[in-house]
């Protein structure tokens, strides 16, 4: 009941965009997540310049070289070498490209599919909604890992196949969230008035609905990027994802697994990289949600 007085006090504050900027720079998770992600993206983009060695160059005389912090380690191979004597740091840097590529392309494919389905279901309702809901249920009841493994096994484990399969499988959350966001907006006055003005459906969808579900969309994009990156790593780990000699982090963990008992850092390093990337993307997504819709926090 004191909302009125509180509101007037807040409205006298700085402008909307300044408030937004302040919220961004005060959001700890957003800064940490954004910082780590930028570092990883830079590492991936500049892998060619940063990597001290060719990630594919084998040196069988120098297998399992210790990383620099161990006694036998050297600055030549900062993170050591793997079972084929390839420089671990260089492979890690090039591997970031694969993870980021998988994340981006999968989120793009599944985002387009899911958004089209979700927005049409939410906007048109009725039969369209029923069909989309059914498809979502069907999709959710398909065991993702199992289906993805089977398809990759059948079509061969190339980057293209992995990305396509994941893109075709991970649209469910887009559809669910876009559907409910659109439903909320559909009934609002400005959409009704746009309809009354005789705007075409497509125009309403693009100019009235889409801009207002964009925040939610971005949050789902981050979630699904993280999801796709973990799944690719898992598939590659099981040997039914990206194939050697590509330096996928999941593959690196899989190759290091055989030396689990003797050289645990072989799985620790790519695992930590994978963890850091997922962590950063999740933090960024949570941060965007908090900053764009502070009232939805918690």
């Amino acid at each position: 009941m004191n909302a009125q007085t509180v509101d007037t006090a807040e409205n006298t504050g700085p402008s909307q965009s300044a408030q937004m900027r302040r919220r961004i720079f005060r959001h700890f998770g957003l800064l940490i997540g954004g910082g780590i992600l930028i570092a990883i993206v830079l590492g991936a983009l500049l892998a060619g310049a940063l990597a001290p060695h060719d990630p594919y160059a084998q040196d069988l005389a120098n297998r399992f070289a210790d990383p620099v912090w161990k006694e036998a380690g050297s600055w030549e191979y900062i993170l050591g070498t793997d079972h084929l004597g390839r420089d671990y740091l260089s492979r890690l840097l090039y591997g970031a490209r694969i993870s980021l590529l998988i994340g981006l392309v999968t989120a793009l494919i599944s985002g387009v599919i899911g958004t089209i389905m979700g927005v049409s279901a939410g906007y048109f309702g009725g039969k369209v909604d029923a069909v989309v809901m059914f498809l979502i249920t069907v999709r959710l009841s398909m065991p993702v890992v199992l289906v993805a493994l089977a398809v990759v096994a059948l079509f061969g484990g190339s980057l293209l196949v992995v990305v396509t399969v994941l893109g075709l499988l991970l649209w469910d959350r887009f559809a669910v969230v876009m559907r409910s966001s659109t439903m909320q907006i559909r009934g609002l006055d400005y959409v009704t008035s746009a309809k009354a003005l005789g705007c075409s459906t497509l125009r309403i969808l693009l100019t009235e609905i889409m801009p207002n579900v964009l925040n939610n969309l971005i949050v789902i994009v981050t979630l699904e990027m993280a999801h796709a990156i973990i799944l690719e790593a898992a598939l590659s780990f099981l040997g039914l994802g990206v194939q050697p000699p590509l330096p996928s982090w999941g593959l690196m963990i899989s190759e290091g697994k055989n030396m689990l008992l003797f050289e645990p850092w072989l799985i620790t390093i790519p695992g930590v990289a994978l963890f850091a990337l997922i962590f950063a993307i999740n933090m960024l997504g949570d941060g965007i949600r908090d900053v764009t819709a502070p009232e939805n926090r918690n």
Binding site: F134, T137, V138, L140, S141, M142, P143, V144, V145, L146, V147, L149, A150, V151, A153, L154, F155, A226, I230, A233, A234, F237, L238, G239, L240, G250, I253, K257, L260, L261, P264, I267, T268, G271, L274, F275, A276, I278, F279, N282, M283, N298
Partner: protein, 305 residues
């Protein structure tokens, strides 16, 4: 209530049917199983013979119809690899996966619901921060890597539990923790958010105004309402976990349906893969149905919808 149940049951059947159709066509599209079946060094004539023997020369819908008809009677054909009925293989392995799934979901519930409730009761407290920390870490942790790390620490270095296998309950400890932790962040967050919202509700104030004891306000009046969305999520998570068992069982060499699925995929054993996809999706559909029924019991408003 009965109508609600029948409607959901009909939908479940339709969903399972569609999933099986999709996975069947996928496997059909994927190429010629006859080549794989005939083995290396087979002549064209051998392959042709296999094709006719297994009926691969028939149109896809006809093959699917035949498969579905048999599947409805529990006959999923013979495994290409073991040459024994798929249903026997699955029946042998599925209890292990179900055990793992139930252990893991129990672990997740016992960890996340109390923590979520406590975090909501005292927001920004130490326990809230701990819960947030657990969920942030859990969300970013690739479960296969987490499994390996646990093996290194608890099985190899400390030797508290066996590294792999499925012979005793001790073999299930690490897989339970890994798979359960996977489901924990989502359940905990939803419990916390639900409790936070419900604790602000007018009827909580009413219960307090009546002089109901604080503990009872929390567990009778608040939790029951907050847990309604959690029930659905838990069912979904359990379904995902059964799918995720493919990865976990492979890491721990736990000899369940997930491991069977992984090996069957590697062996091009299509009937087994096909049957497992259908069974996993059926389990998922039944779980969500169960969650709906549980929710209808928890929330009287749903009963009449």
């Amino acid at each position: 209530m009965l109508r609600f149940f029948l409607k959901r049951l009909g939908l479940a059947a339709l969903v399972a049917f569609t999933v099986s159709l999709i996975s069947f066509s996928l496997l059909f599209l994927a190429g010629d199983p006859a080549i794989a079946l005939a083995g290396e060094g087979a002549t064209d004539a051998d392959i042709e013979a296999v094709r006719i023997q297994y009926g691969f020369d028939r149109p896809v819908l006809e093959q699917y119809g035949g498969w579905l008809g048999n599947a409805l009677t529990g006959d999923f054909g013979d495994s290409y690899y073991f040459k024994t009925p798929v249903i026997h293989l699955v029946a042998e392995k599925i209890p292990i996966t179900m055990t793992l799934g139930l252990c893991a979901i129990s672990f997740a519930i016992l960890l996340s619901i109390p923590l979520g409730v406590l975090a909501a009761v005292k927001p920004n407290s130490l326990i809230d921060r701990f819960a947030l920390f657990l969920s942030v870490i859990g969300q970013a942790m690739p479960s296969f890597w987490f499994g390996l790390i646990l093996i290194v620490i608890f099985a190899v270095n400390l030797g508290w539990v066996p590294v792999s296998g499925s012979d005793s309950w001790r073999h299930f400890i690490l897989p339970t923790v890994v798979l359960g932790y996977y489901a924990t962040p989502a359940i905990m967050r939803l419990t916390r958010a639900g409790m936070l919202e419900v604790l602000r509700a007018d009827y909580i104030r009413t219960a307090r105004a009546k002089g109901i004891r604080p503990g009872k306000v929390l567990f009778k009046h608040a939790l029951r309402n907050a847990v309604i969305p959690v029930v659905g999520l838990t069912a979904v998570q359990l379904g995902f976990m059964l799918g995720g068992s493919v990865i976990i069982e492979s890491i721990f060499a736990l000899n369940g349906a997930g491991f069977l699925a992984f090996e069957s995929i590697s062996r091009n054993d299509f009937p087994t893969v096909q049957a497992l996809i259908l069974i996993f999706s059926l389990i998922y559909v039944l779980l969500t149905l169960l969650a709906d029924l549980l929710n209808a019991w928890l929330d009287p408003r749903i009963r009449e919808a």
